[in-house]
Symmetry: C3
Subunit: 133 residues, 3 copies
């Protein structure tokens, strides 16, 4: 079985920083050099990397997404009413691959890893795969 | 030569489910544990994962994209008239990496793999690479 | 240390083709068959693949992005005023994985690799990782 993590989210739309959790899973996998692959098994959330310092960045991302991909659209047909979450999920993407060097994620100073919840709150499942060079 | 698949699409804009084709290629590659990498060699289509159950989700994605990234834009200069397809291609992305466990794709219940045609119909070429852990 | 490249960009918004630089790094890494992974350690730029022939495509991408994700938004709070760049960065993504066969990138005729600058000009740092099959 691949390494799996269940992460509860706390709102309908949320950028939840998971950098520390990803670091824990990397330690568990014991990868020294290569890449770490992250994957969500869902269609209404995503994974991204963005600023980890000023929470106003996350606020602005949410506000801009609310304008660009609003929750309701006059031509939506899908009965669950979460088509916005499906589109956001495809645009952010379900996978992320991050370099690893000497047992640590190679991230920039301002880079944090985020689970992007677009239809929560729910518990989301992530799969981690370590690929050595 | 890497494993290559040619897939004909059927409309100008189409989310074509290819999960079963990807499973066939995985079997051909014989990967047991690791990740499968998919790549399109084009600039007006993309790859994504989204809901495989209710076709209304795909309808809503198309309608919302038509509003957000319309086929015609007053400032477009590109003579082929398919700049919308180029932008969509970059936002959806040409690559997708999916975990594999015990010879099977690790996908959620509602996850299907889609070839996103934004300037069809055409025949699209996909490259598959198996990376073992 | 992973293979690192520093690339100066030349404008606030720019699609800078780096295909030849990526080919050089691939040669340096000496990978014959597998995939090459590219990663930016920043949160206001991205990586993408798009058309390498007609520069009008890049013009159209910039114009359409300027409409879709404008530099200023009435609800922005982030003091640096670059929230548009942060959103674009997440939508284009910080990573790209490209197949490699017989020592060469497997790219389509019209595919070029681009560093997408959304908050420049700056010098951007890229990490390259070779994964053999």
């Amino acid at each position: 079985m691949p390494l799996t993590l269940h992460i509860p989210t706390g709102a309908q739309t949320q950028f939840l920083e998971i950098t520390h959790l990803v670091e824990q899973e990397l330690t568990r996998l014991g990868l020294r050099d290569g890449v770490l692959h992250l994957f969500t098994v869902h269609t209404t959330c995503g994974l991204t990397i963005n600023e980890n310092a000023d929470p106003d960045v996350l606020h602005d991302l949410e506000q801009r997404l609310a304008d660009m991909i609003p929750h309701h659209h006059p031509q939506d047909r899908h009965g669950e009413g979460n088509s916005a979450a499906h589109l956001r999920s495809s645009l952010f993407g379900p996978d992320l691959t991050i370099p690893v060097s000497q047992g640590k994620l190679v991230l920039g100073t301002w880079q944090g890893i985020y689970l992007c919840e677009f239809d929560g709150p729910r518990t989301r499942k992530l799969i981690f795969t370590a690929l050595a060079t």
